[in-house]
């Protein structure tokens, strides 16, 4: 052979020997904006579909209940005339499609119907209770992230490349156990320790700032450890990545390598989970509110279910559902901002 053998030949032999990866064809394009539009349309389409399913489900809820919901709500002793009048006012005697149309129209005009028990507009009930629940959920989420990210990063760095085996085992076991305990049990435990036993913190209502502590912690603890565990796993994986080696080859300070290069990549996976966690956190408020007598939607929905006040239940289920869907969408958008590839990958 000669040392000037054609590069074609050398490449072919190169592939042969090392089994090199096939060449990656990059996307060189000025289509960035176009991609954002496509992402937006697709994501919006999914949101709208899910919303439609949710609205339909909440509408059908009252019709899926076996028997007459009004009779159920007013009790067997209520006079037939009253039941009939109430049915009429709720529009339950109209054809189903007409009812559906009225329901949709009501939603768009902010008319969620009237409570069967209190006769108050449901919209008023919801808007009066929503802020407390929203505050609780958002605070819980923020606290969960504030605990999870530093914990996950530190654990990831400490246990990278098979180091700190014991730390890893202790952390993983603790987080699995704590992550499995449902928030209402954590809540009861907190009530006992900090309310009953130590008497440090209030255990009911939201009148004072310190009353927020226990409910928020009860809500945040589980999601926090689950998220921290995911971030740790991702950190460990990302720290093995080629681009981290590149960052080290650039001799960047450790802080820049961990926080500037590894963390954003570790977070993208964590964020995907964040959507689910945020959703379950929203639902978790129902139980936590009932442990801590928190004046939010969670207590209202339970008392409404028990008193068969279906219009209120319908509306609150809808509000929770919308909350979950919006949370998921928000997380996807943040994800796309952080990692533009997720726009493409998602399909």
């Amino acid at each position: 052979m000669t040392t000037t053998a054609s590069s074609v030949a050398s490449t072919t032999s190169a592939r042969e020997v090392s089994g090199a990866k096939p060449p990656t064809v990059g996307r060189v394009s000025a289509l960035t904006t176009h991609r954002w539009v496509r992402f937006g349309v697709r994501r919006l389409g999914r949101l709208v579909t899910s919303l439609a399913v949710l609205v339909t489900a909440s509408f059908l809820m009252i019709h899926l209940i076996p028997g007459d919901p009004v009779r159920g709500a007013l009790g067997p002793t209520a006079p037939t005339a009253l039941v009939e009048a109430r049915r009429e006012s709720l529009g339950l005697n109209d054809p189903l499609l007409v009812q559906y149309w009225d329901y949709l129209r009501g939603l768009f005009t902010g008319d969620l119907g009237t409570s069967l028990t209190s006769q108050l507009p449901v919209a008023d009930v919801v808007s009066q209770r929503l802020p407390a629940t929203l505050t609780l959920a958002l605070l819980g989420f923020l606290v969960a992230v504030a605990i999870a990210v530093p914990l996950g990063v530190v654990m990831g760095v400490v246990t990278r490349r098979g180091r700190g085996r014991r730390t890893e085992l202790a952390f993983t076991t603790t987080s699995v156990v704590v992550g499995t305990v449902p928030d209402f049990l954590i809540g009861v435990g907190l009530v006992y320790v900090f309310g009953v036993h130590l008497g440090w913190l209030p255990v009911a209502g939201n009148a004072t700032p310190d009353a927020y502590v226990l409910p928020v912690v009860a809500l945040a603890l589980g999601p926090a450890v689950i998220l921290a565990r995911i971030i740790r796993v991702e950190m460990v994986a990302v720290l093995e990545a080629d681009f981290v080696r590149t960052a080290r080859a650039k001799r960047l300070p450790a802080r820049t390598i961990y926080l500037g290069h590894a963390l954003p990549n570790a977070l993208t996976a964590g964020l995907t989970i964040c959507g689910l966690l945020l959703g379950s956190l929203v639902a978790g408020t129902v139980l936590v509110e009932n442990v801590f007598a928190w004046p939010g939607l969670g207590r209202t929905i339970v008392s409404s279910i028990l008193s068969k006040d279906y219009p209120v239940v319908q509306a609150i289920v809808l509000v929770y559902g919308v909350g979950v869907l919006l949370a998921n969408t928000a997380v996807d958008v943040v994800l796309a901002l952080l990692d533009p590839r997720s726009m493409i990958a998602e399909d």
Binding site: E16, P182, Y192, F243, G321
Partner: protein, 644 residues
């Protein structure tokens, strides 16, 4: 399957959780038989009593013993949770297998529905169904069961998709076996194991969820009681008798955790075969006499003027801990690089060439160990560690890695990634650094650099990315570029361009280059001098122009002979060096190449040849250096033809 489960149960964690599950099940069976009466006794003298010798957990508002109530409640709690799990698994199975059962179009609709439902948290679904089915134990069981169905459906969907593609399943379908039968007979047995494991986990979840619903007053209604109901009653009097809330709370917690953790442990045990860690296998090769002698030889030669050297490495060793002692993929490598010199390092994968480069760049992390009797870069002793010479290395030693796709951070813009170097090492502001990055991208002939700098790595083609990587290396003023297989991952058409770029940078700025490659042709084309590595040692060190015809070591000659030249018919299978590379965990004594060498004799197998000067500026480590190979004396004898 049974044996594998048994193996899991034998682990400490598996045993603990397994025993817990058994204990909970046993309790659920015997507790109502033994203690129902004691749990029902109303003691009006002892209403809301605190824990005492008589009532271990105190009494409730009717004076009933809470301890026994918590024990007896295990039956109902567990029954309800298990029924709910069965409902969830069954419904999930039907939904998940929908594509199989209903045909593609309807199946897709169901799958889409499942995907929407999965986005909603289970508790919300459970509340929805609880309203529909009514308050009470039956409604709650249905609610929790159906709430769990979507996630099960998703699992089943994935599992079925894997199995349905199997030959005999499609064969059964073609043969006209009914869809439901296919599911029961052919698919289900194949996915039973993951289903059972997940059902175990979700039984724990159902137990806790049920407690939640009962706690809200939506589940079990008085006078019946499960743990959740007891908790509901207990929390109301937590200030009077905390044990009334804590006892059922602890009970449900333990039971739920037991199922959940047992499932997780089994899942992990069955799914993951090996526990992660260092991938290199183990061995403790003792250092042979020849090895030590060759070290001594290395210490003496190379009498070049030190000032002329960019890099001077003596007796470099890299080791990793293995299960049975350290593994040594680099076993005493000595070389140096002069200003502006291009040094090639060739060898098969596993020869230690890349680790040598990483060791020199101080990029080998713990638990890897790097030792050397000398390791100097521009006069700085690298054995002090990389952080001691951070700015020097950051600006003067550039690294180019094999895969430009994975070597850039996918979440950050190219320009920013280049600019970092100048920002951290050259005292520039972010703005200045970015301007420098654009200018450097231009220097490595990236078209439209200002715009390119704002793009992400995935918007670059492979060749452009590698250019940008080289641009990153020349952000500072490098005196050495270490390129580890810089063209291997690239498209054929751009390989030459990248090599040309490296060449021109070298020429313009008098930069030394260490080019690591398994490809003799590439190295021969670009480099002045070539090191041939085998099994963690240098076996030959020769001027690049002597590669063709002037190589003395049998391995070098085999490598050269394996390269197709102009006359080689490229449609024919390519030649390779026969035999397998040496496992760094199991390096034979004597010459490491002996097993593959046609010249090997008894001495080769007994004594390791040292690297010794062979005149004309080259060195070789072989007892029979330069002797003719085979009977006809041509190098072709070594080459065997292998069909790819």
């Amino acid at each position: 399957m049974a044996r594998r489960w048994l193996a899991v149960v034998r682990t400490p964690l598996g045993l603990t959780t397994g025993l817990l599950v058994t204990a909970v099940l046993l309790l659920a069976v015997v507790a109502p038989i033994l203690w129902s009466d004691r749990a029902e006794v109303v003691d009006t003298d002892q209403i809301l009593a605190a824990p005492s010798g008589e009532h271990w957990a105190g009494t409730d508002s009717l004076g009933r013993d809470i301890f026994f109530r918590a024990l007896v409640a295990s039956r109902l709690s567990l029954e309800l949770a298990l029924v709910a799990t069965v409902i969830g698994v069954a419904a999930g199975l039907l939904l998940g297998a929908a594509p199989l059962l209903l045909g593609r179009r309807l199946g897709r609709l169901v799958t889409a529905g499942v995907n929407i439902a999965v986005a909603f948290p289970g508790l919300l679904l459970a509340l929805f169904f609880a309203v529909v089915f009514g308050v009470g134990a039956t409604g709650a069981v249905l609610a929790i069961g159906l709430a769990g169905a979507p996630s099960f459906a998703r699992l089943v969907h994935t599992l079925v998709a894997g199995v349905a593609a199997l030959d005999y399943v499609s064969a059964a379908r073609v043969a006209g076996v009914g869809r439901f039968r296919v599911l029961l007979r052919h698919v289900l047995p194949n996915i039973a194991e993951p289903l059972v494991v997940n059902a175990t986990i979700s039984a724990g979840g159902a137990l806790l969820a049920f407690a939640g619903l009962s706690f809200l007053g939506l589940g079990v209604q008085a006078p019946a009681y499960d743990w959740g109901r007891l908790l509901f009653e207990g929390v109301g009097m937590i200030y009077v008798n905390p044990a009334a809330a804590l006892a059922p709370g602890l009970a449900v917690l333990l039971a739920g955790l037991a199922f959940n953790l047992f499932g997780e442990v089994v899942a992990k045990g069955l799914g993951v075969t090996t526990v992660g860690g260092i991938r290199l296998p183990a061995a403790t090769p003792a250092r042979s006499g020849a090895e030590r002698r060759s070290e001594a030889a290395k210490g003496e030669h190379l009498a070049m003027a030190p000032s002329d050297l960019v890099l001077d490495v003596r007796d470099l060793r890299v080791s990793f801990p293995g299960p049975a002692g350290p593994i040594r993929p680099v076993r005493g490598v000595t070389f140096s690089v002069r200003h502006g010199e291009a040094l090639g390092v060739v060898g098969e994968s596993g020869s230690g060439k890349s680790l040598t480069a990483l060791a020199v760049a101080r990029l080998i992390e713990e638990p890897g160990r790097v030792e050397a009797s000398r390791m100097e870069f521009r006069g700085a002793d690298l054995r002090d560690g990389a952080s001691a010479h951070r700015h020097l290395l950051g600006t003067s030693m550039a690294m180019v890695f094999q895969d430009p796709m994975t070597s850039f951070n996918p979440t950050r813009r190219i320009g920013g990634q280049l600019a970092e170097v100048a920002f951290h090492h050259q005292g520039m502001t972010r703005k200045q650094a970015l301007a420098r990055a654009v200018e450097r991208l231009d220097a490595v002939r990236v078209p439209d650099p200002a715009k390119r700098a704002t793009q992400y790595p995935h918007e670059f083609s492979g060749g452009m990315r590698q250019r940008a990587m080289i641009g990153m290396g020349v952000m500072g003023t490098p005196s050495l570029i270490i390129a580890d297989e810089p063209t291997t991952a690239l498209d054929v058409t751009v390989q030459q361009q990248v090599l040309d770029l490296l060449q021109s940078i070298r020429d313009e700025d008098d930069v030394a280059l260490v080019l690591i490659s398994h490809d003799v042709t590439v190295v021969g084309e670009v480099c002045d001098r070539v090191l041939v590595m085998y099994a963690g040692r240098i076996v030959e060190d020769l001027p690049a122009d002597r590669l063709d015809g002037g190589a003395r070591h049998p391995y070098t000659r085999a490598l050269v002979a394996a390269v197709p030249d102009m006359d080689t018919d490229l449609d024919q299978p390519l030649a390779v060096v026969p035999g397998r590379p040496v496992d760094p965990a199991d390096v034979p004594s004597g010459c490491a190449f002996a097993a593959r060498c046609p010249l090997a004799d008894a001495r080769c197998r007994a004594e390791d040849p040292p690297l010794e000067p062979a005149g004309d500026g080259s060195q070789v480590a072989c007892w029979h250096a330069g002797e003719p190979l085979g009977l006809d004396g041509s190098t072709g004898v070594l080459v065997e033809v292998r069909t790819p």
